[in-house]
Every structure is written in C-alpha cells, then in structure tokens.
Symmetry: C2
Subunit: 464 residues, 2 copies
Amino acid sequence: LQKNSIANQIKAIVGQEHFFDSYEDRLCYSYDATIEEALPEWIAMPGSVEEIARLMALANEEVFPVYPRGAGTGLSGGSVPLKGGLAMVLTRLNRIREINQEDLYAVVETGVITSDLHEQVEALGLMYPPDPSSMKVTTMGGNVAENAGGLRGLKYGVTKDYVLALEVVTPTGQVIRVGSKCVKSVSGYDLTRLFVGSEGTLGIITEITVKLLPAPQHKESMMAIFDDMNMAAKAVADIIKSGVIPATLEFMDHTSINAVEDFKKIGLPRDAQAILLLETDGVEAAAKQEAEKIIAVCKANRARDVKIAATEQEKLQIWEARRACLSALARVRPNTILEDATVPRSKIPQMVRGVTDIANKYGIHIGNFGHAGDGNLHPTILTDLRNTEERQRVQKAIDEIFALALSLGGTLTGEHGIGTTKAKYLEKEFGSEALAVMRAIKMALDPHNILNPGKIFIADSASV
Amino acid sequence: LQKNSIANQIKAIVGQEHFFDSYEDRLCYSYDATIEEALPEWIAMPGSVEEIARLMALANEEVFPVYPRGAGTGLSGGSVPLKGGLAMVLTRLNRIREINQEDLYAVVETGVITSDLHEQVEALGLMYPPDPSSMKVTTMGGNVAENAGGLRGLKYGVTKDYVLALEVVTPTGQVIRVGSKCVKSVSGYDLTRLFVGSEGTLGIITEITVKLLPAPQHKESMMAIFDDMNMAAKAVADIIKSGVIPATLEFMDHTSINAVEDFKKIGLPRDAQAILLLETDGVEAAAKQEAEKIIAVCKANRARDVKIAATEQEKLQIWEARRACLSALARVRPNTILEDATVPRSKIPQMVRGVTDIANKYGIHIGNFGHAGDGNLHPTILTDLRNTEERQRVQKAIDEIFALALSLGGTLTGEHGIGTTKAKYLEKEFGSEALAVMRAIKMALDPHNILNPGKIFIADSASV
C-alpha cells in the first residue's frame, strides 16, 4: 500500500508517460556494463531540475533509495539499483545550452551524449578533450559522476580537469550551483571537484559547465609494433623521459590485438606481442618533431616497425582498433570483467608481468590493454560465470590484481570508479581514518543515506 | 592558570626552543599581507607530523583555536589568528623528499619554499608550473591551502592542477593520506581537492605530492604597448580566439607601469595606457609561430609597438616588471589593498572600465594589473587607513568591485582565497544552500571549530 502511494506520488511529479514499473522495464534498468545487477522498484525519467528536486524531497520524506543513471555504460556498478527503490533516468535532460567561443566553455544538461558535445565544439574549431571509449553512448552527467577518462588523458587529463561548474540537486532536494565559469576560482570549498567522481552518492548532477580548448592544428598518429612486451613497456617510460608528452599513448597486448582483429579485420599484426598506439598534436612542426622523437625511442627499444598513419582513414583505423578492445574481448567468452587498476607509469612492466603471472596461476584468460602513458591498464578477464569453480578462481585473481597494484604504489581505479565492485578494497588504499572522513562527508550531505546507497562504502544497515 | 597549563603542554610537545609567547613574538605572527591582524596567544613550530597531530589532539581536548601558517604572505587573511589561540608555524618541515623523474612527481614537506622546488626540478629538465609572484618566500603548504596561482596559470593552470596527493592532519588529530601518485585516480571522494584551497580550515597539510612536467624547450617573451586600454583588453580576447593559449598573458595599466618604473627603472613606456606581457613556450618552432600570431593580433588591435625579448636578460626584465607590481604600488601610499576579483576573460574590458569608474566615483587610487588571459585582475587600492573618512570610501569601493565582478559572471577570488576579507560576500556568489553544504562539511570534519576559525564563513558564536 505504502509502495503504491509512493509510485503514485512519483507519477504525479514526472507524469504518467515518464514512469515505469513493469518487470520488463525494471529489468532494463537493473544493470550496467559490469556483471552487477539488481532490480529497481520504479523507474522515473524526470524532465527538469525541479522534478528531480521534488523527487529527492519525496525520497527523503518516504525514505526510499534513489539511483541516478545516465546511459548505464558504467564499469563499476555505479548506477546499479542495489537496494531497489527508484532508478532515476536522466537522459531527457539532453540539451547543449551554450557554447561560448570567447570564454571557451560549454554548458550542457546532464543527459547530453559526450560525442554530441564533441561534434558541436569541433565544428567551431574547439575541443572538449575527455573521450571515454564509450563516448558515443555515455552521458556527460555519467562522465562527471564517475570522472571518466579516455584516450587523450595523458596530455589533456580527464573529466575532472574540465569541469568548471555544476548545478546539483543535493540528497535532501536543494538545487545548488557550485564552481564558476571563470577558469580560476578559489572561492569557498571546491565542491565542484567533490561532486566530480562522487559516483552519484553526494548529489544528482543536472547541469555541467566544461572548459574547452582550441582544437590542435595538426595530429600525427602512429602504431609501434613490438615482439617483446617488456620492451614495449620500457618504450612507454622512455618516451616520457625524452620530454615528450604525447596526446595519446595506448597499449594492446597479444590477446587484445587478436580479439580486435577477429572482430574488425583491420590488419593488425597478429603475431606481435604488443603494440603501442600513439598520437602527437599541436602546431604542425611540433607534432611532427615529437612524432620523430617517439619513433626514435620506439626503435631504440627494438620496435619491429613504427607505422605512421598517412591518411585520415588510417588514423581513424588506429583509434577504432583501440576503442574496439572491450567489445572485441567481450565476444570471446560469455562474461567480461574489465578492471582499471592503475600504477605509476614506471611500474607498468611489473604490473603487466604480474597480471600475466596471476592469469597463469589461476588458469584464466586475461587480455591487457589500456592507457599505458598514464599507467592506467585495463586487465580484462574473459570468463564464464555460470562455472562456479572458475568464478572462484576469477575472484581470487581479481583480489590479487588489486593487491599488486596497491603494492606498486598504484590506485584501485584510474577512471571507472569504486562503485560496488571495488568497495571492499577501498580501506586498503586509504586506511580507516581517511575512509572515516569520506563517510563523514557522505553523512553530512545525505543523512538518510538515500542517494545511491551501497556504492563506494561497504554497506551495512546502521550507517553509510 | 588553564592558559599556563596549555602553554606547558604545547612546550612539552614541540620543545622549549620551538615555543614562543612574548609580546614581540606574538606581534610577528599577528598579520599576513592584508591589512588584517590579530594576536595569537602562543606560537609553536612543530618539527614533525607526529607533533602536529599531538598539538591538534591537545587543541581538541582543551578546545583552543589553531592557526596553521607558512610564510604569512597570504592575501586574504587566511593565516591571521583571528581568535587568538595557537599560531602553528610550519616552516621547519622544509625538506624536498623525492623528485621522481620517471613518474614525473615530487614529494615535498609543507614548509618547502616554492622557488626552491622550482630550482631543483628545473636542474633536471623538469617544471613545476605554479609560480605565484611571492614564490621566493611562500611555502608549498601555503600555496596548496590557498590554491595559489601565478603567471603561467593561463596555459598551465594553478596549484590545484598539480597536487596529486597529500598527507593531512585532520582537525581531530588523525594523520591521513589522500590522493595517489598515479596521474589518474578516481578512488573514493576527491579529498585531495577538497583540502586544496580549503584555507587551513579542514586540515593541516603536512606533505604534498605534486605532478611535474617536462620543461618546455623554448620560450618567447614579448611586451605589447597600447595607447588605449580598451584595445589592450580586446587584444587579450582576440589572442585566445585566434587559437593560441600563451603560457602567460599579463596586463599592467598606466598607474602600475609608472609605479614599477619609479621603483625599478627598467625602461617601461611611462606614457602607455596599458602593456601586455606575453610568453609562448614549447617546441621552438611552435613557440615562435604562436609568438608571430600574437604580434599580428596585437598590431591589429593598434598596439603601438610589440617588443620581443632578444636575450635572457630582457626576458627576465619583463617578468621582473610584472612581479614587482605589488611591491611598487605598495610604495605609493601607506596602505595597499590587493583584490583578485575574477571575470570570464571576455568581460575584462567591462571590468577594467568599471573599476576605473568606481575609483573615480569614490575619489580613490586604484592600480590595475594581473592575469588578463584568465580574467584574474588585481585591482590594487592605494590608501591611508589612518584617514577614517577615506577608509569608508575605500570600503564602499571594494563592495562595488565585488558586486561588479559577480554581476559579470565572475568569482570573488581567482587565487588568493576568501579568508577573512571576503567572507561577507561568499553567500552572494553561491547562495545560502551551497554555503550550507560547505558549512556541513566543515562541521563534519571539525566539530569543535578549532582549526582556523573565522575564515571563509562569517563567524558567529554558535556555529562554524
């Protein structure tokens, strides 16, 4: 009865046509791109910040959990409605409100698809650097909530480096504006950055102001082919040491190369142990000079060959290969578990060797690819979770991968977030006192623990 | 008696030789670079993070305020011991612990002087970009607490963009480590960025890990001379629109030019209405090509002349002129009040005209200089505060300057912080609900309100 009453109140706020609660609808919003899943009780698609604020006020009154959600492409369980309640789908808020060419910023609603923003700013000779592999599907709000990265992170940074200001609905239903359109501001606490990467646990992001850059004049794209994984890893460190920070410095191992080639047939070298995919950009002379330096470093590290993309088509193929990694690996076996443990870049050789050892120890398949330049690897476990015995081996392997990353001075997640999948490791990274500070902030902002509960922190019934 | 007992306990923690409470000593730690001042009860110079943690535990037990302090060069009252208590001077923690050339980071203690870090990393071909004008005196901990900017902010960003990880003593005396040496991490809430710019109110920063960059190969420095202030302001916007982001794009008005020339006699054009000081950097060909573009834009905006620094000596002179602005203006009259209201860069012409109008309206002297490229001006009021009537006019002018900045979509402070001097305007920038979120965080971390009380928030007796 109480549930019926809540459903009716939600309907009254968003309208009948934006409310769903059939089993089929609930199934559709029960999962993201991890293996986590849980059914929401109701789904609402609010059409305005006012509706969102009213929904949060209702949730506080009736005390039910709210799970904000963009496109559901998350890789850490961030939007999975772990405790039922309301899945709040934000895709109707999808207008690009302003692109300011003088002050180099854009204002977008939370549901804008990332690559739609790319297209619009690029048409004006500008650039919004963050480019997660899922950018043709993901929403800007999801990117901000999870602090999404992408291929250009090495030179240009990730989402957090571009968010200037936010409009946020707090867990208690207030609409606040934080940050500034000015590129410099140190006015009050940096709430903007607190909300970025807070995985929907501290507030619902409704509008985002991002910094733009002038688009680079010129790009050079390259593929360096290695017969020895260790030499590829060493080349990564040597490129940075040579004083060049490429826009992109990506890595694919033998398994990933072959999975992509099976899927896309674009002529990758199937026998290579590793390839590096690189891009330099900027003023043409600078991009070319940096490309030459990179080629020299790769050859000094026994690259078998370094191919420069001669045409726009060839450039696109290189990046298509990289972006297809996850989809390609996902075809190999029924389940794919993509991790993003990250280490200081000098530790990449040790990390790659360690992951290989762990895969061998537990007899499981792990493909390795990722953002080598910034130490952000994506060990991808190919498995069949219906096999309970294999599932246990997979879990042990994952535990060891994270322990290895932390022992190398790394972090649990470079760009996917903690979500549900890594919550149990968080205390190992920061210690109980730092975790207590995070919990204190969560409790201060969300006293009823109704916004995306069960994420980041290990849930217990009594507290956050 | 109770005060004596506290003094003895502080002494027992830091040692007799690092404790001071004579009137003369208290006077020395009663002010910063603003006109704010207040006497601390005691001064302690702890020598380790353990001593700092013990001092905070004591402060919680006995409930007295603690005011952490670096070099005291702050421009918003951030370190002034407004409510007495303990001035905690952090300059003994001054070791550079590590410079990692492979992973491009440095680990420094809080009291390291910023330009000492510059020298050491530059000797290795690396760069730590933040370069506040006070960098030969300021401490890294102070830079982090206030999120200091500098001349290279336009292309390279400010302190917050380089802080990877922190060791912090919380207001309740726990030692925590936040952030990661990895350039990418989205593990838990971004506490690092919450502490950066929190002005010593949320924790005492004891160790800082900063990101480094490879030093640019080449630099070009220029001075563009304008007879018309509006054309100089328009040139700033046009340079950015042309697709060039210079490393530095600084501005000095007629008053600042003449004050610096009186002081330093380096041959600045005394009759000019404004000069722009510019630097491009990077690969040599790129830096030169960008410099040419800038010159063309300045000439199209009726620059009378654009001088390129031909020698290292000439380059240094340009930047010496800019860094001398505050000291030079401070010589003109007994008191100097330096503000840093910031606007989106396209609003600079309006802001400069508005500040001039306000100066005329109230019959006061205001010099204008600053980081034009990022909209961060430093209107500098030259006054004599012994004159009560003038003091009132000055206060009205300041109120109007901030109201103007906010009305242009600006922010109260680009790089100096809110401190005591701008606390009363903060609600105007963000509204009461966002301010309530900031207060809730402060209360969650510092329940007794003993760490740097009276800053950022307007103090009242009952709450933060």
